[in-house]
Every structure is written in structure tokens, then in C-alpha cells.
Amino acid sequence: MALLQVQDLCVTLNTAHGPQEVISHINFSMEAGDKMGIVGESGCGKSITALALMSLLPRDSQTRGKIILEGRDILKLNSNKICSIRGNRIGMIFQEPMTALNPVKQIGAQVSESIYLHLKLTRKQTLERVSELMDKVGLPVSKFGLNLYPHQLSGGQRQRVMIAMAIACNPEILIADEPTTALDVTVQEQILDLIRDLADSSGMALIIISHDLGVIAQTAENVMVMYTGQSVEMGSTMDVFQNMSHPYTYGLFSAIPHVGSSVQLDRKRLNSIPGQVPELHLRPRGCNFADRCSRALKICKDKEPMATRVADHHQVWCYHPLTCEDKK
């Protein structure tokens, strides 16, 4: 049985334009040790998906579908029970290490918070556990001390503290929401290595959310590409990156300049995707990408596409997926 199963997850939020469905019909499942990536532009629902898994959505939001963690649907649990899962069984690394840490609390206290809450250890044991965690994330207590405040640390070090907090209770699932977006490339590399090593050594399932295709390619085994709250392409990272079938995935991929490009080609224009992500209340009736898609036909504007299988475990939500010839 799968560790985590998300079935037909829909989230509706109250906005200035009335209730709007921000996530529709997300399905995926994960086993222990899986590494899944979620990639997409801002506003596509990546972070809302993560918050739904943590049951951290605003109170006035409505969630439909199922999130089954080891046989229990966590959407049906009461808040006490969810509290015992959140931070304990599912850990999360938030996006901005600058704002996600409490500026007036020492880092030792922040890391020990969930240990106190969930593991019910004595003071001494907690302290031992915290120093063990700090060693693991590369901030040994002998050098960094637990009485430091977040402002005394650099961005990368703060992100390490965040990671220590997230893995404090040995969660089964670790969600990393844009863990390296605010960091320099060299620090990003260190943090990604750390997250990967931690996941490998403890058998945690990892959900990594990023807008950076490179980060996903190097970290995740499976990937889900999201656009306007829907999954548009899903499959193993190899399949999706080698044989991308959705026009949006392909558009994203060709919009980024690649390192090494100056050697191969002389000053070619970047292929940008025309237009912009439609606003929530202005989403079209059919395929949400149809207005920006060069392959869109009448059917795309009328009816939402269903999942089509490209290969084993590789699905695409498109009427006219790209074939190999199209990409030349």
C-alpha cells in the first residue's frame, strides 16, 4: 500500500471574486523513499498543494478529494489528530528562510519545539536530539551554538535550521517548498545535496517544489508539471524531461537560457510563451493553456482534456501532445 495517496484533490479558496477553485483534480501516490518534484510558474498551485498536505490551508477554504496517509484520510481527521501528524509524520521546509524562522527565538528553541510537542522527551534527551540534528544539517553545536538568533546566520545556514526543524521527528514525508529559491547557486547545491542525502539515508519520501527545472531534474525521480492548479504532465523525470509532451512543459523548457548556450548557438531569441497565466476568475472553459498554446484547436477551448498515456507512468493532459518531430 502506498505511503501517501492523493486522490482527486480540489481546493477552493475565497477570493475577492468569490470562491475560486485554485487546485483541481490532483492525483498522485508515493511510496517510502520516493522523490517527487512539482514544477510550475508562480500561481500554478504548487504551494497550495503542499499546504493542503499539511492541512495548513486558510479556515474558509474548502477541500474535496482524499489525502490518504497510510490508510487514513487526513482530510477527515479532527484538528487534534492532524496536529499529531503535522510536523511529526509530515515535515515541511518553507520557502523563505528569512521569514519562516521566528526572529526573537533562539535557533535551539525553534528546532526543539516540535520535539517537545510530538516526541515527549525529557529536557536532556531533547537537547541531545537537537545537537544530533544540528550535526546532521551541518551546523555542529560546537561551532554554532544553540543560542544563536536567526539574524546571526546566513541565508544558507538559516535554511539548514529550517531543515533541522522539518526532520526533527523523523517524518515519513518531507515537503520542500522552493527550498533554494532565495539562495546563491553554490549554496543551493549544498542545500540540495543535504536534502537528498537526508532523504536517502532515512528513507523519507521527498516532495520537492520548485520553479527551477534544473533543481527538479537533479533531485526528483518523478515529476508533476502544474499549470493553473491542474497537473498537465506527470511521469518519471527521465520520461518527462527527455520526451516532454505537453506544449506548456516544452514552452517552459525552451524559455530558459541554458548554460553552454553561447558556445552552441549565436544569439538566438528565447522562445517565450506568449501571454501570461490567466487570473483565477478569468480561467477559460476548456484547457487552461489553450489561449497561450500554438497547437490549440476548437476542442481545446471547449472541453477540458483528459489524461492521455504517453508511456508507462507518463501521462499528459492534452488533446494534441507533442511528438518527437514537433520539437525539432
Binding site: L213, M238, P257, G260, S261, V263, R267, R269, S272, I273
Partner: protein, 320 residues
Amino acid sequence: MKQPLVKIKGIYKDYQLPKKFLFQKAPVFRALHGINLELHHGTSFGIVGESGCGKSTLARIVMALDEPTSGTVFFDGQDLFNMPAAKLKHLRRNFQMVFQDPYGSLNPRKNILGIVAEPLDTLKEKLSFAQKKERVAKILTEVGLNATDTDKFPHEFSGGQRQRIAIARALITRPSLIVADESVSALDVSVQAQVLNLMMDLQEKYNLTYMFISHDLSVVEYVTDQVAVIYMGKIVEQGTTKTLFHGPLHPYTQTLLRAVPDVNPLNKKQKNKPVIPLFKKTDMSCPFIDRCHKATKTCVDNAPELLGNDGHLVACFNAE
């Protein structure tokens, strides 16, 4: 060879840090350490480096928003820091800046006409309202917006459109130099591509010179003709974009390029990283010594100079 548009000569910039004790001399942080650069007409110059290396300080000095501790900047042969304030103000129309955050850099209480025409007002251009409006409308269509957008406010635009407004504001005085400080980092990739394409089209059309500051190596490689890599206030490598990205010589540049995650999942990174020899860093030593895998004893007592031939300069004793 033609005279460069901008000549940055021996720039040092020190910032005073707060004193720890009352009668202590204030400690000094050296943000820039002897920067020499030349920007030529119609080219793009990239400045690359990690956060805190002095990229933005350099941009502020080139824009004459900050004075260097020593050294100076020549714009079209004129010394920016040795001229009457009125003349500098008059000269400012020739260099403009596009900032990083399109949400923070536009005044939310002004309409687009007010925002884009602000440089004209500041420079006291004698234009009637109709003329001003016409000029703004023209520049808005140039950057891919509607001429009728002049009455709208920033909140009615998306991030990419706001950055287009910021570019329009920079272009309205018809400058020859645009300093773009992380101008596309806050944008989504598909929008980023649109804005980059726009900037390159405008460059062709108006023969603009760009000073392009970014931490994103792939963007810099894509846009620029020449690159300088800065580490802790010093240029460690400089050259044409092609040679520098194809054959980086400085260990720091190599580290940076290696750290960019590859979009091809087949190219997994090698796990074994080069071992970094332990040397004690002193005031005399190479700034990169504590992170360098090629460091030797020579690097401890001497800081390498920026040397090289064919325009590819590198500050390293063990460059290869």
C-alpha cells in the same frame, strides 16, 4: 579603438561599520577592491557573483548614486565624480537603471503616465502635457504595452508588465547606458524570456549599452558579450562571454558553473567534490583561498593580480 562609453577606474568603496566601543576607530568593510572595467557602445557587460560580493554597490557607483572611496567613473570621457552637481544632473539622462523588484520599484499611488514621465519632470524637460503624454504613449508601445495604459495604476499589471513599465521609465530620457540590476530574477521563466527578448530588441534598435547584473549564470551567458566575475569585491575573472563560459580559468568561476543544476536528468552531478586544502586566510592572501581546491602556499601570502592576454583576464596563481 573607439573611446569606451563607461570607464570604471580603480574603484574602491569602503563602508564604515558600527563601532563596538566608544573610542574605537570604526571598523571598515571594503565592498569594492580596485575595480577596472570598460563598457563599449552597443554591447552588454555582465557582472556575476554571489550575494554580498559588491555587484549592486558597483551598479550604484556607475549610476553616480554613491561615491567611491577612491577611483572614479568616466562616462563618455567625463569624470562623474569631479563635476558640478548641476552638470551631473544634466548628464543623468544618459544613464538609467532598471531595478530588481517590479513590485517595489513602482509607486503604487501614481498612474503609469506619472511613473514613466517622472524622469522627464525631474530633468525639467520643457514639454507640454500633450507632448509628454504622446512621448509616454510611444515608449509604452515600444515595450509591448498599450498606449492607452497611461491612466492605469501599477496594481493592474502583472510582474512582467510592471518590469516593462520600469524599462519604459528607464528609456524615456533616451539614455545610452542601462544598468539592469537583477532585472529579471523576480520573474517567472516564461515571462523572463519575454522581457529578455524585449531588452535585446531594444538594444538593437537604440544601440543601447547594458550593464547586466545577475546571479543567474545562464541568463548572463545568454544576454551579454563580456562578463566579469566578482568575488568579495574583486574581479577574479573577466573576458568575453564565450571564452569565459566555455573555458573558465578561475576556480571560483568553475565552482559557480558547476553548481548550476543541469536540466538534463541524465547529467547527474558527480558526488565526489574536490578536496579543499586547509590554509589560514590572512589579509594578504587570495580572498578565495578558503574555498579553493587549487590553493597552494603561494596563495597564503600574496593576493593574485588580474592578468591575462587576449582580453581574458584571471586573478589566480594556479589558473589553467
